[in-house]
Symmetry: C2
Subunit: 227 residues, 2 copies
């Protein structure tokens, strides 16, 4: 019997690569996305397209966090913009940080995984984001794996754990991996602004463009923009 | 300035004692309760009364988990009943275990705490429940504290952590402590069945009755029942 997995799918590039990697590794996957009040709600439509392309059922959970504390939850807030990749890297935790977001998402994914008898929760958090977001660092991900192993029935039975296969990869490495796995990059959305076209100025757009350039892969979203 | 805390308040006895303890220790408290599809929804009304008595604002978050996997989420399921405290203790994880429940609640509490600039998240999990529920054990609670410290902005700045002051206490010790703090036990609900009167047969009623007996304190809920 194929091992079951719950894969966090945001509609962005990293989680799409993670889903296709889990599928290639033989997992029977269920995708989980959140409508948590993010300004870039277009992500959710992207997650639906990616899951459909992958042939994987998607569960979209409404989880409107009743508090703010992030420029990603507040449409009136000004997003960091026009920073270079180096400035992003050295700038500390940005205002787009959503309080404990990955912890909330992972905890619900762990609950879902237990309820359906899955072995693994996958998250696409990785090293470049971890320079800004504390909940993307390897040491954090290992700590959460420990929480699953101590705090769930299946974890205590050594039948549930967290995998974070992109944790130490650069964006360029992730894009090359996704390219080899046939990830439909045209459906992935990175822009924090949430407009129909990527703004090319927010941190997420800047890191994506740098990644595609370094990977020497064309970003289909940008090609569409230039048409 | 008083230190702010987020206190998980279920409407049960343990979390009520934790709230009154945090208040006595000088914290400016916000209580957080969840409407997560539990069969004993009466808890939420209890949480409202307890928070009102304590003079603390209460945030009730709707979080209907779209999966089951617990007799506490499924009104048609049969609850464990008529077991002695010893049988409960030796019986392993009961069917009332809700997949990753404390992890989900704590993660949302951590997000709330960051958003309002709190220093501490309080949870009333303790040793007697920990014999059955993996997510009530001290080692689990310490692992979650580590997640907060690594995975949140305030945690990384050493300004947010988890406190679990009841972790090593018996139910009788918790009741004696609550009694000394003036906890309104009459508003606390323990019964899993969720009826107007405690069933006195579910695990939670059995452990509560044993605790009051050992503490030599009268349970006002039972007195009311006998009227």
């Amino acid at each position: 019997m194929r091992r079951k997995a719950v894969v966090l799918l945001s509609g962005g590039l990293d989680s799409a690569v993670t889903l296709f990697l889990a599928l290639r590794n033989g997992y029977d996957c269920r995708a989980l996305a959140f409508d948590y009040g993010q300004r870039h709600k277009a992500e959710i439509a992207g997650a639906k397209r990616i899951a459909a392309k992958a042939g994987v059922p998607l569960n979209v959970m409404r989880l409107p966090l009743p508090w703010k504390g992030s420029s990603l939850l507040d449409k009136k807030a000004v997003l960091p913009s026009g920073r270079t990749a180096r400035e992003i890297k050295s700038g500390g935790i940005p205002t787009t940080y959503v309080p404990a977001r990955n912890t909330v998402f992972l905890s619900i994914a762990a609950s879902f995984a237990e309820a359906i008898g899955a072995d693994t929760v996958f998250i696409g958090a990785h090293s470049e984001d971890s320079s800004g977001y504390p909940d993307c660092r390897r040491e954090y991900l290992e700590a959460f794996d420990n929480v699953i192993k101590l705090g769930t029935r299946r974890g205590a039975e050594k039948r549930l754990g967290l995998e974070f296969p992109l944790a130490d990869k650069t964006k360029a490495e992730i894009i090359r991996l996704g390219s080899s796995l046939g990830v439909p990059f045209q459906f992935t959305l990175s822009c924090y602004e949430g407009g129909k076209k990527p703004c090319m100025r927010c941190d997420s757009c800047v890191l994506r463009a740098k990644g595609f350039k370094e990977a020497r892969v064309k970003d289909p979203c940008i090609i569409q923009k230039r048409k």
